[in-house]
Each structure stands twice: as structure tokens, then as C-alpha cells.
């Protein structure tokens, strides 16, 4: 099978080595897509290419990238400036994929930024980077500087007449900035609470201007689609949606890590790359794509990791970085840890999330420490509805309910045992 070996996103990345300078990057074919695009393509051509390639956003939600772009107002009457914002605020627990692209191949990201910006005719682009990603910060600053020097950024990019300014913004830490409208508020220098939608950022985003927010992995994919075409890109995948995907495994497996694989690689194949469970442990559950996705189980090893298939199995592919629960780790403790995270990161804007999550955290801690009561399970179940989709201002609390709700069903006996025995059997 040809496509197990193709790794366009990561082929240039060497662990523990600094990324290529612009000169070396160009020598290896870098920025060819920008030259091609700016000399022979129209903005609508780039959008069409991405639509035809069936690229879906890699930030977690899986929205089709080309369709997102096509809503941006175009033409002489479009409000200006228009913005492209890169969501590089990787903060979903269990997720460590964008770090690799940011540290390992910053020019690939910048190349993708130029293509996306050209497609929507953005004037200004921002990279919104996690404050803790200090190595990435240094490398991106250097790469941006090199790209300006070489004429790939700034005025009249390589003589095409297209102009784009690119700035790096270091965030100061808040999970809610992964929600795109909260991110835009943070960029504007405000508290990062989400905005009401509509209007969507495509129409009214940063300072009320048309704005696209795309994930690092999504943008890093673009140069390869432009260079090698739609058919090649679709051929990388085992599903109707094109491309490779970064998949990761963390938890008590033999070789935790990150791999670029065809979209649609199965959970079991990814677990095999991770070497399977450590000796003496067996698999109890898998959170497939970061903290805000429902638990899968050992029965899902044949499940293909792609947006639709994982969705049909009752979870989400999310970020594609799996967190593994073994049989010597307490599921109640794990869900308590996840809920504590979401409670801490609630922005406080809407009541169900602000008050509900700490409440759930406390109840889970009571159960974990032997103070649970019989009716707690009913209460927890009820809250997965009260904080679920449609009940809160944004997706943070519903995201928190995904692992909790699925754990209440999947690990019901463990919860009951804690409550009955008035202690955690793993402690």
C-alpha cells in the first residue's frame, strides 16, 4: 500500500534538531507552492483546490476548510483589513501534535499561512501561540524574519502585487482561547470570553472584520495540496476525506509517541505503533482525540480514525491524539482530573459551566475519596444533560461532558464500587 509511507507534513522534521533555515527549506522544494500560487492561480482557485481535496480542519471540529474560506466576503467591496488567524494555542489535554509542527517545520506553516491568506485575500495574519511553547516561539520568530527578508512576506510578495503582514502573538494561557471567538477577544486585548454566533468570524471577526481562524496542522497541509494536487492528496487517505493526519498515543503504553498516518488508520494500528500496553497492563479505555471526546473501549480497535467513523461510534476524532486508560488506573480519578481541568478553564461567562463544572468536580472527588452517596450517580447523569450541547454559551462544558458521560456508562461498576465500599479500590 503506497500511502502508509507518505508523510508530507513531517518528512522534513528531525527530532531534537533545529528546523531548516529558509535557504535549506527552499532548496528542498519549500515555498514552491507560494511561487506557483501567486504566479498562476486566482484566490478562488486555491479555495476550490482545498474544497476538492476535501480537507477538513485539524483543530478538532473537522469543519471543511474550503467551505469555511468561501464564506469570507471577496472583491473590492469587502471590508478591510481581512485577517487570517492561526490557532497555535494547543492546550487540549493529551494533545501534543501542533508542537511538533511548530518546532519542527515553521516555514511549512508560514508557507501554508501565505496560501490561506491569499485564498481569502487577507491583509494581516496572526499566529496565536501558547505562552509555554518557548522553543516554538524562538523558531517561528526566526522563520518569520527570514521570510520577510526573502520577500515571501510584506509588500508585493515575490513581485506578485499581493501584500501580507504576519505577526506572532504569544498567549498568556487559557484553554478557552481554543474557541475561535474567545481567541479573537484575546487578540484584541480583552478577557477571552466567547462571542455570540452569528455573526461568524468569516463575516465579523477581529475588530469586526472578516477573519478566518485555522489550526496549525490544517495550514501546514496546504503547500502539499497546491504542489501535488487533489488526486494525490485524496490518495493519502483511506477515507473520503483527503490527507494524512498526525495521530498520537499517551498513557501507559510501551512506546508513546506521534505518527503521521493516512486518515482512516485504525485505532488498533496506532496502538500497535505505540507498542501496545505496558507489560502486565490491559486496555480499558481510550479517549480518542483530546480531553473533550467520549471514551472508546477495547472493542473499538478496528475503528478507523476519521471524523465521520469515530462520530458514528459515539465519540469524536478531535485532535487525533489518544489517551489510554489501563486497568491499574482508576477511571473515577481520571475523570475527576479531566473535570478539574475544565472547571479551572471555564471562562465564567455562563452559569451552567461556571457553577456546574466545579460542582461536578467536587462530587467526583467525593466519590473518589470514599464520600460518595447513592444518588450521586443520578445527579452526575442529570448534569451531563444540563451542561450538554445547546445548554451553554459555547462548547467547553459540552466537551467536558463527553468523557464524563461516557465514563458513567462504560465504568458504571467502578463508580458504584467506590460508592458502596466508600473508598477507591486503586488507592
Amino acid at each position: 500500500m503506497r500511502n502508509m509511507s507518505e508523510k508530507p507534513l513531517t518528512e522534513r522534521i528531525r527530532p531534537n534538531e533545529a528546523p531548516a533555515s529558509l535557504k535549506d527549506y527552499e532548496r528542498a522544494g519549500g515555498y514552491a507552492s507560494v511561487r506557483k500560487c501567486l504566479s498562476s492561480m486566482q484566490p478562488a482557485d486555491v479555495t476550490q483546490l482545498v474544497k476538492d481535496g476535501t480537507l477538513r480542519g485539524r483543530g478538532g471540529a473537522g469543519f471543511p476548510t474550503g467551505i469555511k474560506w468561501s464564506i469570507v466576503p471577496q472583491g473590492a467591496d469587502a471590508p478591510r483589513p481581512k485577517y487570517l488567524v492561526v490557532n497555535a494555542d494547543e492546550m487540549e489535554p493529551g494533545t501534543f501534535k501542533d508542537r511538533v509542527l511548530l518546532e519542527g517545520d515553521p516555514h511549512q506553516l508560514i508557507e501554508g499561512i501565505i496560501l490561506a491568506s491569499f485564498a481569502i485575500q487577507a491583509d494581516i495574519a496572526y499566529i496565536f501561540l501558547r505562552g509555554e511553547y518557548i522553543v516554538a516561539q524562538e523558531r517561528i520568530e526566526k522563520a518569520i524574519h527570514e521570510a520577510y527578508e526573502a520577500g515571501f512576506l510584506g509588500k508585493d510578495i515575490i513581485g506578485s502585487g499581493y501584500c501580507l503582514e504576519l505577526h506572532l502573538h504569544m498567549s498568556i494561557g487559557r484553554y478557552i482561547c481554543g474557541e475561535e471567538t474567545a481567541l479573537l477577544n484575546a487578540l484584541e486585548g480583552k478577557r477571552a470570553t466567547p462571542r455570540a454566533k452569528p455573526p461568524f468570524p468569516q463575516a465579523s471577526g477581529l475588530w469586526g472584520k472578516p477573519t478566518i481562524v485555522n489550526n496549525v496542522e490544517t495550514l501546514s497541509t496546504l503547500p502539499h495540496i497546491v504542489n501535488r494536487g487533489v488526486e494525490w492528496f485524496k490518495g493519502l487517505s483511506r477515507t473520503p476525506n483527503g490527507g494524512t493526519k498526525l495521530f498520537g498515543v499517551s498513557g501507559k503504553v510501551k512506546r508513546p509517541g506521534l505518527w503521521e498516518l493516512p486518515l482512516g488508520t485504525t485505532v488498533g494500528e496506532i496502538m500497535d505503533l505505540a507498542g501496545g500496553m505496558r507489560d502486565g497492563l490491559s486496555l480499558r479505555g481510550i479517549i480518542p482525540g483530546g480531553a473533550s471526546t467520549d471514551f472508546l473501549g477495547p472493542e473499538h480497535l478496528d475503528l478507523q480514525m476519521d471524523f465521520d467513523t469515530v462520530g458514528k461510534a459515539g465519540s469524536r476524532m478531535g485532535t487525533g491524539t489518544m489517551i489510554v486508560l489501563d486497568d491499574k488506573t482508576c477511571p473515577v480519578g481520571m475523570v475527576h482530573n479531566l473535570t478539574q481541568f475544565f472547571a479551572h478553564e471555564s471562562c465564567g461567562w455562563c452559569t451552567p459551566c461556571r457553577d456546574g463544572l466545579p460542582w461536578l468536580q467536587n462530587v467526583l472527588w467525593a466519590i473518589e475519596t470514599g464520600r460518595g452517596r447513592e444518588d450521586d450517580m443520578k445527579m452526575l447523569h442529570r448534569h451531563t444533560k444540563l451542561l450538554g450541547p445547546g445548554m451553554t454559551f459555547c462548547a467547553l462544558a459540552p466537551g467536558a461532558m463527553a468523557p464524563l458521560g461516557s465514563a458513567l456508562t462504560r465504568f458504571k461498576d467502578d463508580f458504584d464500587q467506590h460508592i458502596r465500599a466508600k473508598r477507591c479500590p486503586w488507592r
Binding site: R130, V135, S171, G173, G189, G333, M334
Partner: protein, 154 residues
């Protein structure tokens, strides 16, 4: 008072002159790097420099995790407390660290050398457990290595 050097570094993050306040999170980060934390006077100086009220800026400063509105030690230790690190031994690492430094989570050592804080997922889950000291990232931490790591910080 903000020094001219700090002011010019903050200015370099004002990309659109009509939106000076947009540089406020960068300004908080820059001033904190210089002074360790954001005291009331720094808050007032930054707000004034960017054309905001101190209350607006305090709303931002207290919202974000990485800004300190109280003094911290010379080195801030951020122990990743999220799920993969939890599975791989966050509790044991945290307790070993706190016992060694004789503090509770969130406190500063008596000699002002370290402050220990929990931190949300550091994005290095395949090498858990992890923590940062200042700008340095430590991965695959075995609590028996803590002395050797801490000795690097005066």
C-alpha cells in the same frame, strides 16, 4: 515607571496603531518577565501606556493563567497536572517536589527561590510526566531526579 526599553518592546507588539490595547497581554508578559510579577504600579503603568483603565487591564491580567498578580519566587515551577501526566504519576511527582521544597502547591519557598504551580497540559504527553522551570521544559521526570534538576537553579 516603565523603562524606555520595556516601552519600545511593548510598542513592537502594537501592529495596528488604532488598537494599542491589543498589545496588553504581550505587555503583561514582557513586564512580568522583567519584574517577576505584575504589581499594582506596573498594572497602572501598562494601562496608561496603552490607553486602558487599570480595571480593564486587571480584568485581563487576572483572567489568564500565566500572569502573576502576587509575588513569586525567582523560578516558577509549573508541574503539568493534566490527564496524561496524571496517568503517568503527576500526584507522586507533585508530592515529592512539595516535600522537598517544604511548601504547598501555589506557595513560594522561604528563601524565595521557587514557586510551585500546577499547569494545564504542557503538550508533551508522550513524555509524561512533565514540568517547566522558567523557560526550561523537563520531560519523562523520575521523582528521584528532582535534586539534580533543582540544583541547576540558584
Amino acid at each position: 515607571m516603565l523603562s524606555d526599553i520595556l516601552k519600545s518592546e511593548i510598542e513592537s507588539h502594537i501592529h495596528e496603531p488604532e488598537h494599542r490595547e491589543s498589545a496588553c497581554t504581550e505587555a503583561l508578559r514582557i513586564v512580568q518577565r522583567d519584574r517577576g510579577w505584575i504589581d499594582d504600579e506596573s498594572l497602572k503603568d501598562i494601562a496608561e501606556f496603552l490607553g486602558m483603565t487599570t480595571h480593564e487591564l486587571d480584568g485581563v491580567a487576572t483572567f489568564f493563567n500565566l500572569i502573576h498578580r502576587r509575588p513569586v519566587g525567582r523560578h516558577v515551577i509549573r508541574v503539568c497536572s493534566s490527564v496524561s501526566c496524571w496517568v503517568l504519576g503527576y500526584d507522586a511527582l507533585r508530592e515529592a517536589l512539595l516535600a522537598k521544597l517544604d511548601v504547598l502547591l501555589g506557595q513560594t519557598t522561604a528563601d524565595g527561590r521557587f514557586t510551585v504551580l500546577p499547569n494545564q497540559c504542557l503538550g508533551t504527553c508522550d513524555r509524561a510526566p512533565a514540568m517547566m522551570i522558567g523557560a526550561d521544559l523537563y520531560q519523562d521526570i523520575d521523582p528521584t531526579r528532582l535534586d539534580e534538576i533543582l540544583d541547576r537553579y540558584a
